[in-house]
Structure formats: structure tokens, C-alpha cells
Amino acid sequence: MTEQIMTMNKDIEARFTGMISLDERSGYEGYRVEAENLVEFATALRDEFGYDFLSSATGVDYLPDEKMEVVYHIYKSTGGRALVFKVQVPRANPVVPSLVSIFPGADFQEREAWDLFGIRFEGHPNHKRILMWDGFAGHPMRKDWKEAYYEADAKPFDTRWPGGDVSRSEDKMVFNKNVAYPQDFTPENWTPEGETALYSGMQNIATDEDLQTEHVVVNLGPQHPSTHGVFRMVATLDGETIVKLEPVMGYLHRNHEKIGERNTYLMNIPFTDRLDYLSSMSNNFGYVLAVEKLLGDTTHIPDRAKYIRVIMAEFTRISNHLMAIGALLNDLGAYFTPMLYALKERELILDIFEAVSGSRMMCNYYRFGGVARDLPPGTHEMMRGLAFERLPRQIDELDRYLTENEIIRARCEGVGVLTPEEAIAYSAVGPVLRASGVPYDVRRADPYSVYDRFDFDVAVRYHGDVYDRYLVRLDEIRQSIRILQQALNSIPECDNCLGKPRYSMRVPAGEAYGRVEGPKGELGFYVVADGGPNPWRYHVRAPSFINLTALSKMCEGDKIADAIIVLGSIDIVLGETDR
């Protein structure tokens, strides 16, 4: 396998002699490409070498070198390891050619890099802010940008000990009592530029002049129960049919990544819980994998800890999919009966999480080199009871209850279709990708932890519609139960072998991209270390966020009422989308 990669890489190097160079910084991997060669390089990678799946594109601010870097992680949709390439541009005027024309999946990611880093992407069709609001000054992920309650660049802050200068951050906030607007600015008369651009863009679609019909722009959300949080969809309608739809997000943006750079490595673990708050164990998993990659071989993970990690991640997948199915049925109008049947099983899984980790949702259970603590007495039996008896029975019941229901089929079949080619191009991941007939699962394509020891199938369906996404989730629950049964039967016993986790460790300089197959799809963490106690860059490749890139494509041509269930079938969590 590694040999294959080596020859492959040689081919690439031979093909692009003079255009690319190896990234030779210590701890870094991949190639460096000049900005003017980027489009040619990416096109050839896709068309000649089969790297067709752009997983992650993000910026890094190297302030000391006065450089901005854009990092791309690209995969083959048939599996295998990543190819990493980077473009460095001067920090004063960062301009990079856009890759949206080759990989439409780069759309939101490039907009995010523009929004947070101020890197301009030339040729981007919709080049505007995505997470921050219009009129926001500056680009918050730049290293010299400071947030409102700014205290110091890195934790631990020294006001906490030994002085103990207790204070509320709110009291120190300069804008606490009287917000001052800039001169000649009245909030009542201010129309945000981006809003105007958004609406005029939505209305600016050619209408049929013979019939003299008119398009209507409809705003769904941000406060709407069917949007699963504060999320907004702006749709242009022709009658009831969607002509164009654009998602608007960022209402829950809290600059998670900036917080992550202020934190030490350890402190980030509980913060990852708050990304996709329905599957916190999986988030922990991805983050610790990334940091363990940076730590290298020095971290010895006991087998028992690896098994516990897999068991928890699979329980998380089941509970997340139950929630997704329940919420989808809510979106369909089957109010709360299916939801509650699903929640009932989820409660039992959360009971296990609570007993093991101490919290039902914000689990904070994984540590670098293992897990926080061994399974408390009694939990193994609880898990066996669920995995061997209750869940198989109840999932069959859920299947009997919903799958053949004629109303569900009528509403879901053929709605929100995404073809396999589109799904790959839009960098869709997880159940959305697999429902489109692409059997891509990180657990199988690029195995991590001990997933290679278990026997399971990659759930795949071929129609790419809402109904298949529902079925894929149901299949995945069954496969997860299979993994759980094997893991619970073969989990190694040991006394106190998990060791005691450490709170401080030296992370060598370098970069790492850790990814797991989270319940919503490929969840990646890109971490750059500079050798200090805090990460230099901490980026989350959020599946909920990137799956939304394809939302517009899925909704076009469908009815407005179907947009709700298409959104429900992607299964987003706004904590992760907006970060």
C-alpha cells in the first residue's frame, strides 16, 4: 500500500516538475504549489490521478513569516490516504484562485476562509461573508485580531493564580452599558450590503416573458422550527417550485476555532463536545486522533481504550441516527410520535454515557492516549443489554413502523436527488454520500483505531433521494449494532491498564489532519502545532457545514414544502455548522 502511494507520488512529482515542491518544514507533509499553477494542478489531480474528493480547504495565518496559507486535503472516492497541497501567498495581499469550478465542494470552505482570514479567492461565483455578519470589521481568525473579552493570547491566563483577581468578563467589557455607533451611522437606515446582494441575486433570474409570471423570493427562517436551529434558507420560487435556494448561516457562530487557539490542547476536548452536540463522543474521537498523530509514536494507547472508544463512537452513531430519523419525521409532519419512539431508545444510550463519562451529552470522555476512565462497574451489562437485546428489537420495530408507510414513501421518494457524481463533486459526506450510491466510509476507506478488526458492511443505497438517506441511516444503525456486538464480545479485560491521563504534554511542531466517520459524515480536525502549549491553528472540517453546499442543488426543481425534508435528510446540527 505505501509502495503504491510512493510510486503514485513519484508520478505526480514527475508530471509537475518545476510546478510543485515538497513541503519540507519539519512535521509537515504534502506539496507546495504556486498560486498561478493551482488550477492546473488541481484539475490534473482530479482528471489524471483520480483524486476527485476535496475533503477540506482552509486557511492558516503564519503571522511571523507574513504569509497566508491555504491547505487542501484531497482524497480518492475509492479510498486511500490524503494528498495534501498548499498555496502560500503574502499576508498583505492574499489572493488565491478559486477551485469552485473544479470542486464545487470548495464553495463554502473558500467563503469561510475569506470571511475568517481575509484570503480572496479569485473567480469565486459568490464571494461574500458566510459566518460573520455584513459590516463586521476585520477577519477574526487572523492572528492579530482580538476578540471582545480578550485577556491574553494563550491560556492559562495569569490573573487566575496565585493572585485570584476574580471578576466577571461582562463587567470589564467596554461596551457594557452604552454601545457607541460610529459617526453618521444609524442602525435603522442601514441595509447590509450582503443582504441586498443576496436578494437581488435571488430575484435576478430570467422569467418567462410570454406568460408574464413573476418569481417570488421566500425567506425560511432563521427562527423556524423546521430549520433545526437558527438557520435560514432564501428561496426563489416559480409558483411552488424552487428555482434557486441559498442557505444563510452563522447565527450561532462563536469563533470556536479562535477559542481553540487560545486553549491548550487538552482544553479543546470539552469544547469539541459543543460542536455537534448530539454526538459529542465522535467529536472527541476526531480531535484526539489529530493530536495523537502530532504526538507520534510516543502515545501508547491500550487495546481496551481503543475498544471503549469504538463502542462509544458506535453508540453515538445509533443515538444520532435515531434523532435524525425522528426529526425527519417531524419535518414530514408526523408530529412527535415517531420522534418520541426514537428518543426513547436514545435515552437508554444516554444513560450509558452518563454512567461512563458523567454527562449525557457533553461527554468529554476521550483523552490523548486513551479515555478518561475505565468503564464503571455495571455499565458493561447495560451495554450488552442494549446491543444484544433491546436495540435490534426496537430498530426492527422502527423499520416496521415507518419504512413501508405509503405517506412517507410518497413524500420522500425521488425528492432531493443527488447523483453520485454530484455528491462527490460537492464533497458530500456520510449518509448523504452513501445514499447516492458512493460506498465511501472513512472507517473502511482509511481505517483508524481498531475498525479493521470488525466485520461490518458499508451501508449504501443508490437513488440519492430523501427516502434512501433515511434507509441508509437505518442500515447504518444495524451495522453499528453488529460492530458493538463484536466489540463487546472481544473487549480485552485488564486492571488499571488505562493509566492516568496527563494535563500537560509537549506537542512537537508540525501539522496533522485527523478524521473519523462521524454520524453525520467525515469529521476532520486540522491542527497545526508550533511546539508551544497551544495549537497554532485548529480547524474543524464540519460535515454539517459542508453537506449544506449541496442543499441548493438538491432542492432545485422540488416543491417548497420539500425543501424542509431535504434539509432534514441532510441532518445538520447548527452548533457544528456555525462553529
Partner: protein
């Protein structure tokens, strides 16, 4: 037959509906407001209605459950409080939202630090209940509580806990986390035995 799927689904709902009644009859009054009733509704064999009537009924908290830290103190022979905390500051340094402030006390004569916290504040508004402070405390001095009913009317005046409010006796800790406290007690005893043994040698 068209509509068969719907009928099948309605059959499932119908079964769920009856399960609750059958269980109610089977269990009599014991299904609600009793410990075994709640345990049954939390178990893998539970059928029918599974909701818990909070606050009349409460789910039992497992040992590892964590909510807002407290400080543990022992009592010596005279009943005086002996605070375990040595104000080493590890909890304040690992706390992700940085909600712990510790003021170290110094001996007024020598100016040297004394291993007792002069003040200890936790802003429970900011605390994210991650449990790192308890996990990494080398003296078993700060632990996570089981009391989750902390709602107050006055957030601004009530939610910065000081040392007095945070201190709880070791007996309380042993009560909520019997297994952990036993484990820690054994570890401490072992350490002391080792210390004594090495002293004897020299």
C-alpha cells in the same frame, strides 16, 4: 395492497398505547414514584410510557455524574476543618473556560506561601462541567458535585461561589462517590505506607 404500510405502522402505535396500560395494571401503583419503578422504566425491558415526572420523580445520578465542582474538607479530632486544597493552582490552569480563581495565602511573618487557599472562587455561570479540575487534582481536594438544581433568580450576585459556599465535608463526598473515594483512600494509604517504609530504611 395500498395502505398496508400505514396499517402496519398504526399497529405499532396501538401496541405502544396498550403496553402502557398493561404495564400499569401489572405494576399497580409501584410503577410511579418508587425507586424500583424508575429503575424499571430506565431498564432495557421497559415498555410503554417511559417519562419521569420531574420534579416529583428524579432519575438516580450515577456515581460518575458531574456538575459544578466543590472543595472537600476533612475534620480533625477537634472538629476543625482541614481543607485538602493546597492552592497549587493546577485546577485553575487546566480549567477550559477559566472560571476558577485562587488566592494563595502567605505567612504574614515570613511572606512565604502557606498551602491553604486564602480565597477560592468559581464562577458557575461560566463553568462547563467538564470535570478536568477534579480529574487532575493531585490532592483529591476538588470534586464534581451531584447537585444539579442550581437555578437562582439573581445571577449577578449569586453565581460566583466563594470558598465558604464551595466547601463540603469529606463524608458528603464519600456518600455521593463511594467507589471513587475508596479507591483514592487506598491510594493515599499506600503512598503513606511507602513513605513510612522508606523513612525506616534511612
Amino acid at each position: 395492497m395500498y395502505g398496508k404500510g400505514i396499517l402496519k405502522g398504526l399497529g405499532v402505535t396501538w401496541k405502544h398505547f396498550w403496553d402502557t396500560y398493561i404495564d400499569d395494571i401489572k405494576w399497580g401503583k409501584k410503577r410511579y414514584h418508587t425507586e424500583e419503578g424508575i429503575a424499571y422504566r430506565m431498564s432495557k425491558d421497559a415498555r410503554g410510557l417511559f417519562t419521569v415526572q420531574y420534579p416529583e420523580e428524579k432519575l438516580p445520578t450515577p456515581e460518575e455524574f458531574r456538575f459544578v465542582p466543590f472543595l472537600v474538607y476533612d475534620e480533625d479530632e477537634e472538629g476543625e476543618q482541614v481543607i485538602r486544597c493546597t492552592s497549587c493552582g493546577i485546577c485553575a490552569k487546566v480549567c477550559p473556560p477559566h472560571c476558577i480563581w485562587i488566592e494563595r495565602s502567605t505567612n504574614p511573618k515570613t511572606g512565604r506561601p502557606v498551602p491553604v487557599p486564602a480565597e477560592f472562587y468559581i464562577d458557575v455561570d461560566i463553568c462547563m462541567n467538564c470535570g478536568f479540575c477534579a480529574e487532575f487534582c493531585p490532592f483529591d481536594a476538588i470534586k464534581m458535585d451531584h447537585d444539579y438544581e442550581l437555578a437562582v433568580y439573581e445571577r449577578l450576585t449569586n453565581n460566583i461561589y466563594d470558598r465558604e459556599k464551595l466547601l463540603k465535608p469529606a463524608a458528603y463526598y464519600d456518600g455521593i462517590r463511594p467507589l471513587n473515594s475508596q479507591k483514592e483512600f487506598d491510594a493515599r494509604a499506600e503512598k503513606e505506607a511507602k513513605k513510612a517504609a522508606s523513612k525506616k530504611k534511612t
